[in-house]
């Protein structure tokens, strides 16, 4: 099963890149995807087949939330950078990720790092994320809240 998802995803990416839906091209895509899948270790799919529709819905919500966060904090960082007084109060905050799986922690740190104003510097053994913030004065609460919301969505995608 692990192979099937990899092959489907790689074929979809290949078809999107070539932009050619002819049967020949699809066959070439599946061939290339199969070779790539054989080079990777087979992994257990994190999503069961019957839960795919619910996962997809949660994934769309997650994407929309991410896009909103990127735009909002992008404008915020732009404002800070262009301010003549450069009002930054940098700091490194510890935020518990509260995710059990490695994939959950990885996706949480990606979501944190993709929004401007926050970068994950490191993760420790207990899954605590250490986040460098441009404005650390009141960021701890907002980051904690955003992380709780993301964790709920992620658990709906992955479990």
């Amino acid at each position: 099963m692990g192979y099937v998802w990899t092959i489907l995803a790689v074929t979809a990416a290949y078809l999107a890149l070539t932009g050619n839906l002819a049967v020949n091209n699809i066959l070439v895509g599946v061939l290339i995807a199969s070779v790539i899948a054989l080079l990777l270790r087979p992994t257990r799919s994190p999503v069961e087949l019957r839960r795919v529709p619910r996962s997809l819905l949660a994934l769309l919500q997650y994407g929309a939330l991410l896009a909103y966060d990127i735009i909002r904090s992008g404008l915020n960082v732009a404002r800070i950078v262009l301010d003549p007084k450069l009002p930054i109060r940098p700091g490194i905050l510890a935020v518990p990720s509260e995710c059990e799986t490695d994939l959950g922690i990885a996706l949480s740190s990606h979501a944190l790092s993709v929004t401007p104003g926050e970068i994950v510097v490191g993760v420790d053994q207990e899954g605590t994320l250490y986040i460098h913030c441009l404005d650390a004065s009141h960021a701890a609460d907002t980051i904690g809240e955003a992380q709780a919301l993301r964790r709920r969505l992620l658990s709906r995608i992955l479990e």
């Binding site: 940098p90 905050l93 993709v114 420790d124 460098h132 650390a136």
Partner: protein, 111 residues
């Protein structure tokens, strides 16, 4: 239809170039490695994504290709900035002017 498409593309180019410019200004003005990566790593990715949207609208790049490239940028950009901050921290570079540092408190570096 073509007019709307061109207008949207021009808007995306203007905003995208603006954000790329802000990324460079931030890189010059901010004080240390960690804060500079906020400006270049993220704000610039935002700019490049908008330029790709414009390219998808008015050049024969195609929406599918642009979508795959945007996805790769959104995965790769934050990963690169995280790798750089983690490397800077391990190399012993101290963040400048911090108001708190939980990482130093919980995991002090070897002297």
């Amino acid at each position: 239809m073509d007019d709307i498409r061109t207008a949207l593309a021009i808007l995306a180019i203007l905003i995208g170039t603006g954000f790329s410019l802000i990324g460079v200004i931030g890189f010059i003005r901010l004080p240390d490695v960690y804060t500079r990566l906020h400006a270049t790593g993220k704000v610039s990715v935002f700019g490049v994504v908008l330029l790709l949207v414009a390219a998808a609208l008015i050049t024969p790049v195609g929406a599918g290709r642009a979508a795959v490239l945007i996805l790769l940028l959104i995965i790769g950009g934050p990963t690169a900035s995280h790798a750089l901050t983690a490397a800077a921290w391990r190399a012993g570079i101290k963040p400048r002017g911090t108001i708190r540092d939980d990482l130093e408190r919980d995991h002090p570096r070897e002297p």
